[in-house]
């Protein structure tokens, strides 16, 4: 899934005047007038409290639903992509759902290998050679033959990450990957995403573009490079951590867990 030279200069994600509808009810808007540009290799964290519309925003960004209005282009092509002949373009984007959203009738190994097998028409044995290293990378080796129901949510989330990485996409969207994790797992995710952003050996050293949603921005300090905030249907792209802190105000302070009145 390497980017072609002619698309290298184009932003990975570009939104102009985009309005996002709620999942299952597009008449209800959750975010309005988004103007946002994500360059290749960026590492964005979109902060927002629970119920602020982070998941709907990310689902729209992932092409799972169209914007209510405005234009959204992905490497210069209109999103969402439903056409069969643009599938290759579509697969440049990976999505990690909150909780993994694995297929419950498949084992972890089968879940992770599914995109590879489906898109390259491989048998289970042929895919195994490529799946096993990724499972080991995500620490999922011991649970390869377990079904998702037998796994804790933290490991399901990791399996979701492994599945999204199977086809080595250029852009990875992650919905609240640190929600409900203990410190050990948080550390693993932050370290691994940092490696992906800088160029993980699994990707052949190519830096991956990352967009992550979070309800607590403190953990991402020094890890992510750009920050944006969602509140009251507004999307504000702030940029670096310093600009985030400088922006202050109730909108940002809530996400940095700063007590009101500077307490």
């Amino acid at each position: 899934m390497n980017s072609s030279p002619e698309t290298a200069a184009q932003p990975a994600i570009e939104m102009r005047g985009v309005t996002v509808g709620a999942t299952g009810n597009p008449d209800t808007t959750v975010v309005e007038d988004v103007n946002w540009s994500v360059a290749e290799g960026d590492f964005w964290v979109v902060g927002g409290l629970q119920g602020s519309g982070k998941t709907d925003f990310l689902r729209m960004t992932g092409g799972l639903m169209p914007p209510v209005s405005g234009t959204y282009s992905f490497f210069g092509g209109a999103m969402p992509i439903f056409e069969e002949h643009r599938l290759k373009e579509r697969l440049r984007l990976g999505f990690v759902f909150d909780g993994g959203q694995l297929l419950n009738h498949l084992t972890v190994s089968e879940n992770v290998s599914l995109p590879l097998r489906y898109h390259r028409n491989l048998g289970a044995a042929e895919a195994e050679a490529e799946v096993r290293p990724l499972l080991d990378l995500a620490g999922l080796g011991p649970w390869a033959d377990s079904t998702p129901g037998a796994l804790a949510r933290t490991w399901q989330q990791r399996a979701g990450l492994a599945r999204a990485l199977m086809l080595k996409p250029d852009v990875l969207l992650l919905d609240s990957p640190l929600a409900g994790l203990d410190l050990r797992h948080c550390g693993w995710w932050l370290h691994f995403l940092g490696q992906l952003s800088k160029g993980h050996p699994w990707l052949g050293g190519r830096p991956m573009t990352l967009v992550v949603t979070a309800d607590d921005l403190r953990l991402w300090r020094g890890r992510a490079r750009q920050f944006a905030v969602l509140k009251d249907k507004r999307f504000v792209a702030l940029g670096s951590w310093e600009r985030l802190e400088a922006a202050g105000g109730e909108m940002v302070n809530e996400l940095l867990a700063v007590a009101p009145h500077g307490g």
Partner: protein, 287 residues
């Protein structure tokens, strides 16, 4: 304005029909049901055409993933139900021949038509319909629950995010599996019923030899019977798979809505099968 209308309708000058109690409620109720019915027909029809399109255009695409799923569905909707169907086949043969001999046994000419009666009742009518309804009960309901749960838990979104067509991955194997399963089970059900039918004749000491019985069967069957039987059984499978998959997959569901979707899917599948059966009766009458 409403009061004015109400007074006009309730006045003694208004025709009796308009003054009947709750007539507006009835009209609203039936109107709503009619619109719901038309919307469902529209939705199921569109879903059937989309599935057919995907089935034909992606017949060989990702076959190393899809074909094992098709085999699993054929096994689930066919092979695993075989013991139950053989039991039912025995019961069906005994009931049809037993009832015929009980009620019409005093008419000597009936002995010349036992095979014909079995063909008309079992081969043309009850065999395919019973097979379809039993597969609906055993597998169709499971389809709605599985797909409805997958949809509610976001598994369908996950497939879309991976660039995997949910119709191709989830629906096409079920459609093929159910069509092949119902066709195969119908054949076994009919064969079983015809054989046990003769067993009952033998046990009751009815003066009909095996050769006579099977000659009657052969005489009553035509090439058209085989063609229409195959078409009917396959279409039953296609329709049941489409209706059950539509209710599980095509509409956003929450977990608590899955049971209602299952009930709706079963009711609509039964209606669709009976209507299709009626269509085939017309074809038999016209040909």
């Amino acid at each position: 304005m409403q009061n004015g209308n109400a007074r006009t309708l309730e006045s003694p000058q208004a025709p009796l029909f308009w003054r009947a109690p709750l007539h507006r409620s009835y009209a609203n109720y039936f109107g709503r049901k009619l619109f719901e019915f038309l919307l469902t027909v529209h939705g199921v029809g569109a879903f059937a055409l989309i599935t057919l399109g995907v089935l034909l255009s992606k017949l060989r695409s990702s076959n190393r993933v899809i074909y094992p799923l098709v085999l699993r569905e054929v096994s689930r909707a066919g092979l695993r139900l075989l013991p139950m169907f053989l039991f039912l086949a025995a019961a069906l043969g005994l009931v049809v021949v037993g009832q015929t001999l009980t009620w019409l046994g005093r008419i000597p000419a009936v002995m010349d038509y036992l095979g014909t009666i079995m063909v008309v009742v079992v081969v043309r009518e009850l065999g395919p319909l019973i097979a379809a309804l039993l597969v609906l009960a055993r597998i169709g309901t499971a389809n709605v629950v599985e797909l409805g749960t997958a949809r509610a838990l976001g598994e369908v979104d996950a497939l879309e995010a991976l660039g995997i067509d949910p119709i191709h991955y989830l629906v096409v194997p079920r459609v093929i599996g159910m069509a092949v399963g119902i066709l195969s089970l119908t054949v076994y059900l009919i064969l079983g019923a015809l054989v046990t039918g003769y067993l009952w004749i033998f046990v009751q000491d009815v003066p009909v030899r095996p050769s006579e019985y099977f000659n009657q069967l052969a005489g009553a069957l035509s090439g058209l019977d085989f063609v229409l039987l195959a078409l009917k059984a396959s279409l039953f499978g296609y329709i049941i798979a489409i209706v059950t998959c539509y209710h599980g997959l095509a509409q956003p569901l929450r977990l608590e809505e899955v049971s209602h979707a299952t009930v709706r899917a079963v009711a609509q599948s039964v209606i669709a099968c009976v209507l299709l059966d009626a269509l085939f009766i017309l074809i038999y009458l016209l040909v």
